[in-house]
């Protein structure tokens, strides 16, 4: 017979389920949980400076490791602050478990101090959520949260625990086990044969890989399939790294900021094999003009994604890796010399242009230089904006989980705390965070967390003194009517970083920029590198929002093919 209170029970269950780091902030309603956590010998607490930071630290741990990660917040403002990080996890299918304190049950519904309907607020942004009404329920709720977060299509789970439930004694005979993952599938062998026949029979197929390939640890299987049948392969923002950027079949990212040849190849393809991707509008452009000549094989673990935006000619609902592995023997060895020659021709005629790629003080040059210094073990986090798209275009990602970026929700402020989370989960690795002057200010307080834990994190702030992508849209689509997108007060990020206790480098005044970047990358602990960028450095090509992907602006090959 075990006897303990709900808070102790929660912490013991988290310990038993392998959690060793929790990011969070204490407050009145979760103090019993913190008291129990203080007694834990295996869980290290990371005190964030804002609950959104705590949520993104958990995301950074989950995205880089693939395992559920946990964050804590108190009731009321603690809970509202963490919501953005949870919503971000929902849209990118990231398994995090957020445990919030709540006012005591007797006060729920009375507008008590720091009371908010956390359960109601989190319904639309979680995969599932719980309001725990007795300490005994935790024995089933906590294991269920781990099962739901990780199983099938992953996602965030919130557990709201009233303070009196945290303090209520529970008695029980045995500990629940961590639920084993059950894989569901909805396809038959004959479906696989039909899909394989479609692939074998196609003349101009393209493989289109999304974040599901990462979640399913299916990148090796995807590369094997692509190589056997000579399938040119494009990736979504979250799919980058599924096959190496320098793979001969890799077409890079598709969509709004894709290379011209990638979108042109998709125009011509006759079969689209979509795996773990969901036809996001930033990837497809105008839906009814996306891959107009293509039949579609859609592989996804979530049946809700099939036929949601584009009708699938063949659907395979199940784990992407399982589907690829089972289909492999049915796939013919093909060389596709005609189609691959056409792809090479498109690459020659519509190449990806990287202005300033040899200048480490220019966006593409900086990114390429960092990539040259870093190894494949390095984890790259980005914030949201121009720097994010430049990184997606130019950084040579070579493995899944190498890039941590906010895709679906596009949350500025994601980068720094997510990078801290990755650094905590992988203390032996170097973590690079590319950010912008707009994004970094949205969670800049987490520099204090980074300094406190001496994480091995290098933050590059690409400072164009503006909200770059907003300004770019005003440039292209609003008659250069720049409004509310340019900062007139220029923040001294180097001084700010030093004030937080970080080392800081100013690339703009460095005599030897390459040496400065190398020194920053080799610096122990956290550091910031300030990189001044011209306001007019735009991200090209660009498909106007709502337009078809063939309608790209900029990035033309003026040198001629």
């Amino acid at each position: 017979m075990y006897r303990m209170n709900g808070a102790q029970l929660t912490i013991r269950l988290l310990e038993r389920f392998g959690i060793d780091i929790i990011a969070g902030i204490p407050g009145g309603s979760n103090l019993p949980l913190y008291d129990a956590l203080s007694q834990s010998t295996t869980i290290r607490h990371v005190l964030a400076r804002h609950e959104q930071g705590a949520g993104f630290i958990a995301q950074g741990m989950a995205r880089s490791s693939g395992r559920p990660a946990v964050c804590f917040a108190t009731s009321g403002p603690g809970a509202t602050n963490v919501m953005t990080a949870i919503a971000d996890a929902k849209l990118d299918s990231i398994p995090i478990i957020c445990i919030t304190g709540q006012v005591p049950k007797s006060l729920i519904g009375t507008d008590a101090f720091q009371e908010i309907d956390t359960y109601g607020m989190s319904i639309p942004i979680t995969k599932h959520n719980f309001l725990v009404r007795s300490s005994g329920e935790l024995l089933s709720v906590v294991p269920a949260a781990f099962r739901i977060a990780a199983q099938g299509r992953p996602g965030p789970v919130l557990i709201d625990i009233p303070k009196d439930v945290q303090l209520e004694m529970a008695e029980f005979d045995s500990w629940p086990d961590l639920p084993q993952e059950k894989k569901s599938r909805q396809y038959a062998g004959s479906d696989l044969e039909l899909a394989a026949a479609m692939i074998n029979g196609a003349e101009k197929p393209i493989l289109y890989l999304g974040g599901g390939v990462m979640h399913g640890n299916a990148s090796a299987a995807a590369a094997g399939l692509a190589e056997k049948n000579s399938l040119p392969t494009t990736m979504t923002l979250l799919g980058l790294g599924s096959i190496p950027a320098d793979h001969p079949l890799a077409l890079g990212m598709l969509g709004m900021h894709a290379a011209r040849y990638t979108n042109m190849a998709l125009e011509e393809c006759d079969l689209l094999i979509v795996a773990g991707a969901r036809f996001d509008d930033r990837a497809t452009g105008k839906m009814n003009e996306f891959c107009p000549n293509a039949r579609v094989i859609h592989i996804d673990i979530d049946p809700g994604e099939i036929n949601k935006l584009r009708t699938a000619d063949m659907q395979l609902v199940g784990d992407v890796g399982d589907v690829f592995r089972e289909m492999m023997p049915m796939i013919e060895q093909r060389r596709r010399s005609g189609w691959l020659e056409r792809i090479r021709q498109l690459k020659r005629e519509y190449p990806f242009i990287m202005p300033g790629q040899d200048d480490p003080c220019m966006p593409y040059g900086l990114i390429r230089q960092i990539a040259a210094i870093a190894d494949d073990e390095t984890i790259i986090a980005t914030d949201v904006g121009k720097h994010q798209m430049w990184v997606a275009q130019a950084y040579p990602f070579r493995r899944s989980r190498q890039l941590l970026t906010s895709g679906g929700l596009g949350t500025m402020g994601f980068g720094l705390p997510a990078a801290i989370g990755a650094a905590l989960a992988h203390p032996q690795r170097t973590i690079v965070c590319f950010s912008g002057d707009g994004s970094i200010l949205m969670n800049i307080q987490e520099f204090a967390t980074a300094a406190e834990h001496r994480v091995n994190l290098k933050v590059f702030v690409l400072d164009n003194t503006s909200l770059g992508l907003v300004r770019q849209q005003q440039n292209l689509f609003f008659d250069k009517h720049y409004f509310a997108s340019e900062y007139t007060n220029h923040v001294d990020f180097v001084t700010i970083a030093r004030g937080f206790g970080l080392q800081a480098f100013a690339l703009g005044t460095a005599e030897d920029p390459v040496a400065a970047l190398t020194e920053a990358m080799r610096t122990e602990g956290p550091c910031l590198v300030h990189v001044p960028i011209g306001r007019d450095e735009e991200v090209y090509p660009m498909v106007p929002p709502g337009a078809a992907n063939k309608e790209m602006i900029g990035g033309e090959n003026h040198a001629g093919a």
């Binding site: 319904i123 599932h128 569901s184 049946p303 949601k308």
Partner: protein, 111 residues
């Protein structure tokens, strides 16, 4: 007339094209937040809900919900998204002749 009742949570029930479904029948875990989950799904995904009726069933651990819908254009998505909810145990379909919903209309008549 009941067309189909899926008991399994292994995969969502297949929507029968042209079956003129008017009422969805859900079996759900009975707890205070379950209706918020169902109604929230309909509103945030812009699905159309004409009416909803929910009563506890069996020993009260589950509830049965009838949802009247108009138009079958997005039925496949509605069913798949409902099926994904953790609290939903099964999703079934009825056509317009569903006896109980026809009888219930008497109680909602405003004269």
């Amino acid at each position: 007339m009941k067309i189909m009742q899926a008991r399994s949570k292994t995969y969502p029930p297949k929507v029968i094209e042209g079956a003129n479904t008017k009422v969805l029948e859900l079996t759900v875990d009975n707890h205070p937040g379950v209706l918020s989950h169902i109604c929230g799904l309909f509103s945030r995904r812009a699905f159309n809900m004409e009416g909803i009726l929910c009563m506890p069933a069996d020993d009260g651990r589950i509830s049965r919900i009838w949802i009247r819908i108009e138009g079958n254009g997005r039925l496949d998505q509605i069913v798949k998204q409902l099926w994904k909810l953790e609290d939903v145990r099964s999703v079934g379909f009825h056509t317009a002749e569903h006896n109980d919903s026809v009888k219930l209309e008497d109680f909602f008549r405003i004269t």
